[in-house]
Symmetry: C2
Subunit: 442 residues, 2 copies
């Protein structure tokens, strides 16, 4: 069979455009609505998407004055969605800096059992002082320290997921033996950041481990991804940058001793679909007009690490911005934005317009055939194994993509017309990990 | 209207009897099955129960060799159950010793939003060294320290739940104002155990706070319950003990300045229902015969804080057991068991037989009318506001209770025939808490 595309829907309330909640058709409280998320997930499942995904940070991240800022906790929301779906994968973001491995490994193992093998974990280290201050710290841990903790967090988590062998449960009613006792082992982890003694209180789950997903693209982030990630979300504004990233990640995976096909690269794209090219461009312009520049400029200043007063709407970015290695979070996003603004010679106002829709992700604007062509071009030219679909407006954006773009790609033999697997790993063509405990004991 | 009974179903895989998984009809992996939990919850909802409940501890608690030991994380499992139910309350146990308030307060607020106001939190401090060792500690914190942390955990959580006023969200599309900024406030908590700066990233939920439930009945536990709990699960083997506990808790609530009707007392009972008294007694005896004494004696030794070698199956308990104040967990359960064994002059084997079904909870054995009579007697004689129903075998035990006992109580006008409220608080007749932030600012 031809190599197949993969699609993830990035769930985001009324859409990824920051002003999408202000459209007449939008439910401005969709962020808190199970029904709204059920609808989006059903559309994606009907279109045979590999997965849906929720971003997260344990902090009030955006200004509640300007957009829906409340976020239901992703593992709970996806557990609820597991109950009303049967095939689509469910990927939750969770922080290694502000959780305990025993609790979080257990939640993902539980989600994998509840969903019959459809759980994925987008591993984040959580930038920002505001999050740190919700957890007893006065400032965020250093970028490097966060990644070191993340690495040990994954070591502990994988040991916990493997603390029951796959054949541990025999459930012999006659003898009264439920599990074979020596197939359930304490992990006895004694590390730098964590001391964790016990076996997990959840048996090994259908996928063994949840699918491991990652999205940081700083150097630390890429190294971490090469070691652990099986799917990667990335923001690349140009084809050339996607190609560079794709080649770099596959190279790093090989260097880490892994099969490069077992690291699926999924750039984020914002599809803007019109029945004619002109209509599509008009839709894109409509969205830019909805932005409140006064609010957006504050968000931009935070990411760039400068005082908001230094950004003038109708001037280019200041020349003397802090360098990537001077800031402790959002490193790769900061660099991407700065390079984009300078390359295209954008004013702050123009830059905000571009970022309002895609926040650094590529906008694919055009007719359904044009959008499908661009997807195919990326896919066949070393830039992507699939895409993280981030519609500017929801649910209409995913409804249009499912109804108009997906059938074209199916006709071209590039995307499944039926699910062939049961688990999230099977959708992405990724192996079920062997149990490291069995390997040690075997 | 006559004062009404309340019923909670304590979900427990194939039943509360430790050997229930060995019955021919039992699914020995029901503990990991969403479908099994959906069925139990549906039976309880059809019978108009107030709530279902899941116990928990972040540790592999029971011996996986002898019974299904895996436990899906309760907030996730209840989120999944929220998606397929509409009225019944959903109460999850979670530990104040091994969670961070920002994360846990957020999960309960999320569950309350997802379920339309049906979330409850059974607050536990988590006894035991084994749990401590999963979280970087070498021994458990002292009982008193655990309760002090629990108290501050509740202070932080309630501030977080109140960090958005009920009228914070205006969602004015025209002006682009989503929430009124000064109706969302940082909590700035600086305490002994916690430093938490931010507002919660979830707006105030339908119930304001989840229903607060508690089950510890040591002196520290009762004081904590009097301050915070709105519903209390308790194990009382006799009517007299239930009456003593009921009166004591209501008195403590009044002393804490609360309305005693706003603390609902729910003793745990194990209904064993037969069509004749003889059949019911036979069912009870059948269950006792299924126990493995060698396994159960180990569990008993742990709770009593003695070496397992000191317990002889056909002798009474040793005279020189450690006193309640010498052990750091399960204080009230230890005392209850010791007093029960001594009062009824039980051998270890007989004691294990009694504990196998109810673990210190009262067994109500008899015909449907006899069971209904006992329930009514407790309810009308100062011993209970309702009951925590703990069938020895599931699903048959709740199916029998729903089909045979509930209709008798409905005919007597003691239990609802339809839900009259939408939220868990409304089912239990408890008020929605005022927003403390509004009170401070008002």
């Amino acid at each position: 069979m031809t190599r197949q595309l993969h699609f993830n829907l990035f769930l985001h309330d009324t859409g990824h455009h920051e002003a999408s909640w202000r459209l007449p058709e939008s439910d401005p409280n969709a962020n808190l609505s199970l029904a709204a998320h059920q609808h989006l997930t059903r559309v994606a499942e009907d279109a045979k998407f590999d997965s849906v995904f929720l971003a997260d940070s344990p902090v009030l991240w955006s200004d509640p004055g300007r957009r829906p800022a409340g976020k239901l906790e992703p593992t709970l929301l996806l557990a609820a969605l597991a109950a009303t779906t049967t095939r689509i994968g469910l990927i939750a973001t969770a922080s290694t800096s502000y959780n305990e491995p025993y609790n979080l490994a257990r939640r993902f193992a539980s989600l994998d059992h509840l969903s019959g093998g459809r759980a994925g974990w987008n591993i984040v280290t959580t930038a920002g002082e505001a999050a740190a201050r919700n957890f007893g710290l006065t400032d965020q841990p250093l970028h490097k320290t966060r990644y070191e903790r993340a690495d040990e967090f994954l070591q502990v988590s994988t040991k916990l997921w493997d603390s029951w062998t796959d054949d541990a449960i025999v459930a012999d009613k006659e003898s009264g033996i439920h599990a074979v006792r020596d197939r359930v082992r304490d992990i006895g982890h004694h590390g730098t950041h964590f001391q964790v003694q016990g076996a997990l209180n959840v048996p090994r789950s259908p996928q063994g481990w949840p699918l491991l997903v990652q999205a940081g693209s700083s150097d630390n982030g890429r190294e971490f991804a090469a070691r652990w990630a099986e799917a990667i979300f990335v923001a690349n504004p140009t084809l050339a940058e996607s190609q560079e990233f794709y080649a770099d990640i596959k190279r790093r995976a090989v260097a880490a001793g892994r099969d490069p096909d077992h690291v699926v690269v999924l750039p984020g794209i914002v599809p803007v679909i019109g029945d004619s090219p002109a209509e599509a461009l008009e839709l894109e312009a409509d969205l830019e007009r909805l932005i409140s520049p006064e609010y957006a400029v504050g968000t931009l200043a935070t990411v760039l690490g400068v005082d908001v007063g230094r950004l003038r709407l109708d001037e280019p970015l200041p020349a003397d911005l802090p360098a990537e290695d001077e800031i402790e979070g959002h490193k790769s996003r900061r660099t991407l934005i700065v390079e984009w603004a300078r390359r295209d010679n954008l004013t702050v106002r123009q830059l905000i317009g571009k970022l309002g829709g895609g926040r650094g992700h590529r906008t694919f604007t055009g007719t359904p055939v044009q959008v499908a062509d661009t997807i195919q071009h990326y896919f066949e030219n070393g830039a992507a194994d699939g895409f993280n679909i981030m519609p500017a407006v929801l649910p209409s954006g995913i409804e249009a993509f499912a109804a108009k773009v997906v059938p074209i790609l199916q006709e071209r033999g590039l995307f499944r017309t039926e699910y062939t697997g049961r688990t999230l790993r099977e959708h992405y063509g990724l192996p079920r990990p062997a149990n490291t405990l069995e390997l040690i004991n075997g």
